[in-house]
């Protein structure tokens, strides 16, 4: 369906500005996301990550600048953009009164797909929710709720997915589950734009990381490019203590890979 002759970025953001009454949230944001890659938008609370995601998913109009998603302009062709995306917002957008399966069927119907029941069953299976499929979503744990939320976003195989703080409020195990899900998405060729305030999340998942600070992208690059911005590493001998997360995951017997918790570098917090 898309023109494939040129390597058009899946998301292109140019000079986006947005303010609310007297508060200027975005002051000229520029970046591009290559098709099929994971891009992490890293920023502290209130940096404008959600505002940007809302603009890209046509929920909000920018004051200035332009953005295209999957080749469509978000302001001029919102209907086409909505055909190409899925949004998983910061709060699980799940109907708690419906069962997990009914939630999936609902979205499949709204996307006018054939055989919504089969699509729902398939996704329940993929996200290990088959046993819980008939239960009200309100009874799900935080991690299950998030998985259902992401599963709902995958219906119709949109080429671009926005995940706004997908792991905020989740416990470490659920976080690892969500990370695995996101990696699988990218493996299938979906472009993922995720926002996060967790440095290790960006480090774990993203092909490229953009740091959103005071309304602009102050740095944008791969993890190693960003690391090169700091003075070269010096060798010091430090006794390696397990992080509390390592201890927790070892004690509860988690299956996720016990990678060393990254030595997080504090970002520029000077205001």
């Amino acid at each position: 369906m898309s023109t494939k002759q040129m390597p058009e970025p899946a998301i292109r953001v140019q000079g986006i500005e947005k303010s609310f009454t007297d508060l200027s949230v975005l002051q000229g944001v520029d970046f591009e996301v290559a098709a099929g890659s994971i891009f992490a938008l890293l920023g502290s609370n209130g940096a404008g990550k959600t505002t940007l995601v809302r603009i890209l998913s046509t929920l909000l109009k920018a004051d200035a600048g332009s953005a295209t998603v999957h080749g469509f302009d978000v302001a001029a062709q919102p209907a086409e953009v909505r055909e190409s995306i899925s949004l998983t917002g910061q709060f699980a957008a799940v109907d708690g009164i419906l069962s997990g399966r009914e939630n999936l069927v609902l979205i499949a119907r709204l996307r006018h797909l054939e055989n919504p029941g089969a699509i729902a069953d398939d996704l329940l299976e993929r996200f290990s929710l088959t046993d819980a499929g008939k239960r009200k979503a309100a009874t799900y744990s935080g991690g299950m709720m998030r998985r259902l939320d992401i599963a709902m976003s995958l219906i119709g195989d949109p080429p671009v997915i926005f995940l706004d703080e997908p792991t905020t409020g989740l416990d470490p195990q659920a976080r690892i589950e969500v990370w695995q899900t996101i990696r699988q998405l990218a493996d299938r060729g979906t472009t993922v734009l995720l926002t996060t305030q967790y440095l290790d999340e960006a480090e774990q998942l993203a092909d490229r990381i953009g740091i959103l600070h005071q309304g602009t992208i102050i740095q944008n690059g791969t993890l190693s490019e960003l690391k090169r911005l700091l003075p070269p590493a010096t060798v010091e001998y430090v006794e390696k203590q397990p992080s509390l997360e390592d201890v927790f995951l070892a004690l509860v017997g988690d299956t996720g890979n016990p990678e060393e918790a990254p030595e997080t570098v504090p970002t520029g917090k000077e205001s």
């Binding site: 998913s57 929920l59 899925s86 917002g89 910061q90 699980a92 109907d95 419906l98 709204l110 996307r111």
Partner: protein, 254 residues
Amino acid sequence: MTTQVLSDTGTLTGRSLRHILRSPDTIITTTVTPIALLLLFVYVLGGAINTGSSESYVNYMLPGILLITIASGIAYTAYRLFLDLQGGIFDRFQSMPIARSSVLWAHVLTSLAANLVSVAVVIGVALLMGFRTGASVGDWLAVAGILVLFTLALTWLAVIAGLSAKTVDGASAFSYPLIFLPFISSAFVPTESMPAPVAWFAENQPVTSIVNSLRALFAQEPVGSDIWVALAWLVGILVVAYAGAIAIYRRKIS
């Protein structure tokens, strides 16, 4: 495009109807107050009220009770819409390729269905308490038409409340004055018995003409000019509330 509006509205209406089926207490809480009022007025206060007509008191007051039922039922529309907005599912729908108006219409149609069930329950209780009417099928259709218009008009008001509320309480509090309005009308006592300024208000507010029309239809009396005043009010409120709700919705989603 039109078929998309219909199918999306159908899908989303199915969703909110499920909400009602899963929490039938919304029907119970909607009907419990009107039924209590019905009992109170018929068996406690009614004996002392002189309506000046030969009708039994339950016949006299049922139209007003039906309006109170609807006025308390539509608060749930504002409540459900507000929860959708807060929970993020509203954003999910808006970021999907669906007909945008279907999100509101689904709530409105659900309100209509729920309120008609509540009204039927209250009429059932009234029948047990001795309510009788010789109304023909045509009269009943006219009664149903007026109640449907009343429900739609108030539901679009509820949509405005749901879209603009800041808190859950705010979303449903707007209905209290609406529930109270029938008391200052011809619903329970003849307006002639009220002090002049109150009587003037009662005679010129929408509930009186609606109540009088319903009462005339149930009693198989000529509806007179009341029906036109009632329809003018209902259509007027409906158009204004609909336009207001759509304007607020547009501002919200653009």
